[in-house]
Symmetry: D2
């Protein structure tokens, strides 16, 4: 998987998934709205691979609601095909961070299907913007430990 590394934020994680029937639509391909659900599962996988669940991040008092989501559709996937969702942190703001995503169809020669990102605000439990804590930056800059 070397070829894309240059342009994708490092470190990254890869979340594997198989397209279910319920995720397809009458075009016989994955419904466009389901990619945001995949992105959510992939970024959750990203932090979990580094040793901390999203639920624990919240328990430590850091909420990361999505402020912006973007998706560019290049190719699709059909029922039962296997996909890989790649995730990395593309940008750090003072009180925000942005996850980047790429989706590959491994059943079709690892064709790039989708690119996207989600920008997250960093909030206290009271809903105030707060600086991204150092432990979260450190976590996301580690290589996977699991």
């Amino acid at each position: 998987m070397t070829k894309d590394t240059a342009t994708f934020p490092q470190p990254d994680s890869w979340w594997p998934h198989r397209v279910s029937y319920g995720e397809t639509d009458a075009m016989r391909i994955v419904y466009y709205g389901n990619y945001l659900h995949w992105f959510e599962q992939a970024r959750s996988h990203f932090v979990r691979e580094r040793g901390m669940g999203y639920a624990e991040i919240e328990a430590r008092g850091v909420l990361l609601p999505v402020r912006e989501a973007h998706c560019r559709y290049l190719a699709s996937a059909a029922y039962e095909e296997e996909v890989l969702v790649r995730t990395g942190v593309g940008k750090w703001g003072r009180a925000s961070l942005t996850f980047d995503y790429e989706v590959y169809n491994t059943s079709r020669d690892r064709q790039l299907m989708t690119r996207g990102y989600t920008q997250h605000a960093c909030l206290s439990p009271q809903g105030k913007l707060v600086p991204v804590p150092d432990w979260l930056k450190t976590l996301c800059r580690q290589n996977p430990i699991l």
Copy 2:
């Protein structure tokens, strides 16, 4: 809509819906799991038509989690077709109630598509089984007021 009244619990409500693209699957018809979502919206419509939102029922201290769900698929619906979901209370238990549903495809001569039911426990906010309160029975036995 007289013809089905004999066999369906009265009073009833009818929730109209148009099939979206995202609700279809690669068979080009509504995905079987989406009916439970429709049932939820239809029973919410049933109580709302009688003057009380589901959220207010919860605010009054009555939780109605689903204990059992059943669905019998007879025919389906395609993208953009219009359906009607009929709802009534089929059975009252001491600490439970059962909603019955029928789904009709009004784009296909009002064909009966689906029958189903959901059984709900009646719980206190502390999660204890409690008798169904009289005001809830009275509410559900009214004709629609909205």
Copy 3:
């Protein structure tokens, strides 16, 4: 609804919806991925209000797959709240068009919740890019007739 007209493409349509339980998540608000599903229903409503279903557009040999989707989250909505999704055509390309969206929470003083857009390629049934047909432009430039 005059106040936003200046900045939103005209003509527009407004699609009403009530938030269901299944659309909320553990934050007790609408899950971020569901907005793309609402956008789909709203643009389908936009063309239907002008006299043509999306299915008929496809039957006439014009496919409009989503090439890009964007969503900016400003506020959210809780269970049973009522929302309005506003839709208009923001941009015409030679072989593409872009729908713009705004989502308002009418249960919270018509608060603006979300802005977004979806860009669609204009394809022949064989999957070739084709110029947007004039009848489609004419349709989208009409005021609602239904």
Copy 4:
């Protein structure tokens, strides 16, 4: 996993899944309609573990649309918890088959969360009821080979 074997159809398969945010609802647990989506993924996993994808079954001219679905909710699961969906063929009809399911919460001491079944008609590509082919019975009676 010996303890439940006696009462559950053999052979069985176990499909692992982690609860995503999008699958939860405002009760902070898995939305009741999502179980049917899990059942679909679990029965697809069941046949795949025996060497044949669902798509190939269809390609061989056997369609298995759901005729009935049932779900009994005993306990739930929260965000990020891990579940196992167990699947086996509970009943063979002449032109139908029934999959049985159990869902366990492995994050809560393998608590039994849900029981359910889906009954499937066996149809030709022309939509006619046909006897269940022998190769399909043989497939489902094998132990997993993958």
